[in-house]
């Protein structure tokens, strides 16, 4: 297929059909772990890894799986894959597993994985499915990292705290105290804060989209106008 197909897959995953902001899928892990930026990043990376594997396998077997039993088979594939990744990581990538390990069991309940298996991988070839997994996973990571950063900033007034857990002791300097003597706003860290911040992010995305549409409409009315920005 043409480059346009990849462009569409990538844009869908990152923005137009973003898992968290548009499809609102996988909210359980999203809301639970994004108490700081580093946790959001970790969950995003772990999910992306699983998603790439599951999309690849589901796409490879899509022609031999009868429609009636496809969902149980997808569940079997995803559950086996997650368990294997969990075991292999704890044996061979112990340091990384210590960081991402707590997120991996949560991935099993993330409907993003089965959602992409059903909506995309079971209908497209392997290359497209992997590209879709990378784009969706990246969009998910981006949304989670932003949500984590927002909650951490409002809640504790810091960014990148506990970066040493993911990038090693040398990364301690990454932690930024944005506001000094900040009176912690606990609501952002507690579950209600997750809903509030996610709501704000979705609203923010809609505002941006509406603005872009308006600009596109104006550009259409005045084709000779200097502003040639397009929507998207």
């Amino acid at each position: 297929m043409s480059d346009n197909a990849y462009r569409k897959i990538a844009l869908d995953g990152l923005w137009n059909n973003n898992v968290t902001l548009v499809q609102i899928l996988g909210l359980c892990p999203t809301l639970a772990v994004t108490t700081n930026l580093v946790n959001g990043l970790g969950m995003g990376i772990a999910t992306t890894m699983v998603l790439i594997g599951s999309n690849l396998i589901i796409s490879a077997i899509r022609n031999i799986v009868p429609g009636d039993v496809r969902i149980p088979i997808f569940v079997l594939v995803i559950a086996s894959l997650v368990t294997i990744i969990d075991l292999a990581m704890s044996a061979y990538l112990t340091e990384l597993h210590k960081v991402l390990g707590i997120f991996i069991p949560l991935i099993v309940v993330n409907c993003l994985i089965i959602g992409r298996a059903e909506a995309f991988a079971s209908r497209n070839n392997m290359v497209h499915s992997v590209v879709d997994a990378i784009a969706m996973g990246f969009g998910f990571t981006l949304a989670l990292t932003t949500l984590g950063a927002l909650r951490e900033l409002i809640g504790f007034g810091t960014l990148f705290s506990q970066a040493n857990l993911m990038f090693g002791e040398g990364a301690k300097w990454l932690t930024i105290s944005v506001f000094h003597d900040y009176p912690n706003m606990l609501i952002a860290i507690l579950p209600p804060g997750a809903f509030l911040c996610l709501g704000l992010m979705i609203a923010g995305k809609n505002v941006l989209n509406a603005r872009a549409e308006k600009r596109a409409a104006i550009a259409k009315v005045e084709p000779l106008g200097g502003d040639e920005q397009t929507a998207g």
């Binding site: 031999i64 594939v77 086996s80 704890s90 040493n164 857990l165």
Partner: protein, 210 residues
Amino acid sequence: MFKKLLISGFLLAVFAGVGTAAVSFVHDNALPRITAVEKSQLLETLHQFVPPETFDNDMFSDTIEVHDAALLGTNDPITVYRARKNGAPVALVLTTIAPDGYSGDIKLLMGIRYDGSVAGVRVISHHETPGLGDRIEADRSPWIDGFAGKSLENPEEEQWHVKKDGGQFDQFTGATITPRAVVKAVANTLRYYEKHRDELFAPASEKPHE
């Protein structure tokens, strides 16, 4: 229709079989490595509590098993690693469970010096809320180091609570249950130690009766 049913069932069985086989294959291959990694991490932690120069025995083989559901938080036998120098007891390290965490058991590794003071406490595993209760981990906050050097005489036994409950240990903003559970488990383990000190250091050949 019947044929379709058979094919679907057959495929389902095949995928279940392949999935299970793959998981058990990886499990069998990974298990020895996971055990080895856990053991070397345990050794590293043991040395944090009890510096290698303070003892001269092999802590890994000088062990006994004990159990006390009330004070150690679990009915399962717990392995106690003992450090000695020239045969004289120096310290011991054991796992203990805080059964009343915010979500499930908090597994702790704890070193106790022969005089009954805490050599150190580390969290091995827990399911506390990320960002709130997980500050009991040494990597995330120095809170857990606050136990080092403490004993049931220092502070007084009634001070072994979080501040909210009138004790002298800090709780976390937004999380009281987690530190409360850990403080209680550490205090209980010290009580157990006080009650059973001589049995705990008894030579391996004369295991205490359970």
